[in-house]
Subunit: 89 residues, 2 copies
Amino acid sequence: MNLDTLGFLAGTVSAIVFLPQVIKTYQTKSVKDISFLMFSLATLSVILWLAYGIILENKPIIFTNGCVLILSLIMLYFKISYGKHEKNK
Amino acid sequence: MNLDTLGFLAGTVSAIVFLPQVIKTYQTKSVKDISFLMFSLATLSVILWLAYGIILENKPIIFTNGCVLILSLIMLYFKISYGKHEKNK
């Protein structure tokens, strides 16, 4: 496997790491065990990577972190939204 | 802020993204809402990045992904270990 293929594969897997959590949380609507701080840090981290990728005009960095940003924001929304319902139960 | 500082900051934040989740899960011992597949994908992703970093001899990539690997493996261990206890309750 050449280096570009390895980097592409690593970037693709990174992009979808949060997807199973988004699907699980959407199905269960339960967020008690999820760390809000974790997804806040993830959001901060990908915003920094996005800035880095934009300055370098590096499309793989922009694409990967763009995907992770969307999934992180969905998880923060779920945590706030479903978290409220759990407290009200 | 120069580009190296931005990359270093992004890498440092990335390295500790899973830390709040590890701390929360260690304290609550509750893993019901956590996606096992998410941390499996995270582990696969950082192993690929580690291989990429080792081939490139890029220390920041190796350091960042080394930290994430340790935290991911801890979360997988928690999910399996605490998950068993939850089922036995």
